[in-house]
Symmetry: C2
Subunit: 485 residues, 2 copies
């Protein structure tokens, strides 16, 4: 009898536990739906992005536009009724494009003279006022450049890096990672071996007339940028980085044309740019937070980077990430959600050409003995969400990630999945705090049509797709805040 009663008790207990579990899941599903409803009907990310792109525009670190973006986003965070909003100073490089650059094929036997579509790369040196006229040498890899360099064949040349991004990669960021070493480190290698300038094929799988700028790194540039941007720590030239020379991207159509001409004849190219590097400037990360009610010391960071390239309006890269992060706070506030942990939005300065904001943030955070339980960066555009990649220190990753995976059934309803991999450049210095780092991963097919070009404007951003990104990130923040790991 006693035993029978105990069994009844056990089965009651069991069904109570199940019932509680189901209730919790239903509650979470309901909250995730509320998050999405608010994002799609009362989201502010798109209107903020309209201002950031249309009224402010391209905002390279050190520019007046970057300063305006700091001020605008600070003011917007101030409207959300957060517990605190502040600016965190950092020293940023100050490179200015100057007047329209020129790259010209000169007196080709088959083509005559012809202007190529070009953009100086960030950190490029200017040419002399008269420009540079030299013979072009095409290479397909850093290794090839090194070998030709050692054989003395780069001296006096314009070295042209022309290995295309692999269009058969499903994930376009992988294709980018497989080619961008040419842009980041190629010109410094060419310079080391006596080249007078360098041209780089634009980083896109598309064949078109649009040049893509981006950072390149010479001997005196911050080392942080070197490995991070090339996605490869093995690219240090065997003889070290060369001093700054003029370095420019040309469009993929022009790269194809130039390559074809070089199979037929020697080609001389004229290059002119008056881009210039000025003294470092003070700029800021923009930060706002809602203090946690029971674990305020556990920080959940959501962020993007506020700076962008000077051409275009930095809509997808990374205006989208900034307004995503801001909208996370806006949505939680509108839902009257009281977080247990501290939810902090950080808009980082200078991701594109130095990472000063990300480094300053991590240094200050470490000094204050802060702990970031999680950091989520959105820096892959404002496209339809696909999920998140997760990263973390080896000592904690497996255990913590196991907890995250348990939320999959809730997130799969919104087509969100997890993968292991990188997170984001700005948050990567926080890895040593041993929380989890996440990269927001939207659909990547269109990203490199716009990346670092004059076409990265609000017209390339779909409102619903952007809003769904804010909803996806808010959903993850909510689950981390509620359950931790």
């Amino acid at each position: 009898m006693k035993k029978a009663l105990f069994i009844v008790f056990l089965s009651l207990l069991h069904s109570t536990v199940n019932y509680a579990q189901e209730q919790k899941t239903a509650e979470d599903a309901f909250f995730l739906k509320s998050i999405h409803d608010v994002a799609l009907t009362q989201g502010q990310c798109y209107s903020w992005l309209e201002h950031l792109t249309g009224e402010i525009g391209g905002r390279l670190a050190g520019s007046p536009q970057a300063a305006a973006a700091v001020e605008y986003t600070r003011q917007m965070l101030d409207t959300l009724g957060l517990d605190s909003v502040w600016l965190e100073p950092c020293k940023v490089p100050h490179w200015v494009r100057g007047d329209k650059e020129q790259v010209k094929i000169v007196n080709s036997a088959s083509m005559g003279s012809m202007e190529l579509k070009a953009l100086a790369l960030g950190n490029s040196a200017p040419t002399p006022q008269a420009g540079i006229l030299a013979e072009v040498l095409e290479v397909k890899s850093l290794d090839e450049a090194e070998q030709l360099g050692k054989a003395g064949q780069l001296t006096g040349k314009i070295v042209f890096y022309n290995r295309p991004m692999d269009p058969t990669q499903l994930r376009t960021f992988n294709a980018y990672g497989g080619a961008v070493d040419q842009r980041v480190n190629g010109p410094a290698i060419a310079s080391r071996y006596g080249a007078v300038a360098s041209l780089v094929r634009s980083m896109t799988t598309k064949l078109d007339d649009v040049p893509h700028t981006g950072v390149t790194v010479f001997d005196t540039d911050p080392p942080a940028a070197r490995d991070r941007k090339s996605g490869n720590t093995n690219n240090t030239p065997t003889q070290g980085f060369g001093k700054a020379i003029p370095a420019l991207a040309i469009s993929t159509n022009d790269a194809e044309l130039l390559s074809k001409l070089l199979q037929q004849e020697r080609i001389q190219i004229y290059v002119w740019t008056n881009c210039q590097k000025f003294a470092d400037k003070t700029s800021y990360n923009v930060i706002g937070e809602i203090k946690g009610s029971t674990h305020p010391e556990e920080i959940i960071l959501v962020g993007g980077h506020l700076d962008s390239w000077d051409v275009g309006d930095g809509a997808h890269d990374d205006g989208a990430g900034c307004v995503h992060a801001m909208d996370v706070l806006q949505i939680l506030k509108r839902l009257n959600y009281q977080p247990k942990r501290t939810i902090r939005c950080v808009l980082f300065m200078n991701e594109e050409n130095g990472l000063a904001g990300g480094l300053a943030y991590a240094a200050a955070s470490n000094k204050k003995n802060e702990f970031h339980l999680a950091a989520i960066e959105s820096d892959a555009g404002g496209f339809t969400p696909r999920g998140f990649s997760a990263d973390g220190d080896n000592s904690i990753f497996t255990d913590r990630f196991k907890k995250v995976i348990e939320w999959l059934p809730l997130l799969e309803a919104y087509d969100l999945r997890f993968s292991k991999g990188g997170s984001g450049a700005d948050i990567s210095p926080l890895k040593s705090q041993k929380g989890l780092l996440f990269g927001f991963r939207p659909d990547s097919q269109r990203y490199f049509d716009y990346h670092h070009t004059a076409d990265d404007t609000i017209d390339a951003v779909n409102k619903r797709e952007l809003e769904l990104g804010a909803a996806a990130i808010t959903s993850l923040v909510y689950l981390i805040d509620k359950y931790g790991f």
Copy 2:
């Protein structure tokens, strides 16, 4: 001893089976990768779509453009070295928009007179040459219209259907399905109760100035269109369908404005259109096939619809679906794939306003005692693939779908998943042949920005996204052909 040997034998057999299974999976994974590589580097879908949209343009059934599209796609299929290419005749309705329609608020107390952005709906009647001037009555549903109609309140009015698509639906097609009964059946109900014209809020979640056309159905229109397009078989008006009256869509911004005005004052609207219905015409489905080597009698159909609305160029709807289907054959041919079963590409005529092509195809197929093991329709745009929905007769669905699900690991590598649900309008009459029907399901967030508008042009189509669609469908065709179900 014997027993021990038998165990060794068993385990050898087991590992051989496993090995064979793994080999097969590796072979399939390799072939799916080849399909994607070819689609992304040698796909022809985008260049075909450029011609279909840029050189031919909008191609409503019965129009010269529709005839040109039949001829162009037949010629293109002829270049692929298929076993046969042919045209299958069908009788299509012939409705013509005529001159630019006019919808105008007249002498509003607060607004004065103002032109609204409008498009006549397919099957709309013309107005008298002098136009129609009448008072507007706003309703939010067919039920509301019926009730007001029975109370005699629609007589002499312009009935304005204004229930928005629900923006919080993640799948935009669900939002469409929840609102489109107003466009398909609303005007016929208004007409039945004496309304002189009808306006319908455009079918999009976006607030903008772009009107969306589409079909509406009156008493003499083909019954096939009634239930299919409204997604609801319960919309038959209690008093039957009314005769054709002028019926036009207005932009969502104008719908919002009109609704706001109606809260303040009575509004008179002037409507003018000289759209017109002519006698039915003969048109064609365009068909090409590769004959199966061992099971030629089992047909795997891939299709889209060749007709489109007359405004815009029918790029996503459904030029994309047509070039997807054509590229499936091109890709298989280029890979020298010899199918076991017959792979047939069908470009259906008149999906938009009658389904004559789909019905004629199924009737002819049934008459020939054909068996479609599978039919896959692409009619949801040329966006990044998400997967396929599957449908089929209840008697066979569960068993066959089980087989399909086994392919998931291979397809998930390309972010492709299966769901249960509808397939495509043109192939749905094939359900009685008891094969499986599939609808290709790309990302749906942008679809209703362009659907049935002047903006549905090649500029709205991303080349990689389109190509990945062709690859996804080819992958499914390959697996069905190889393994059946």
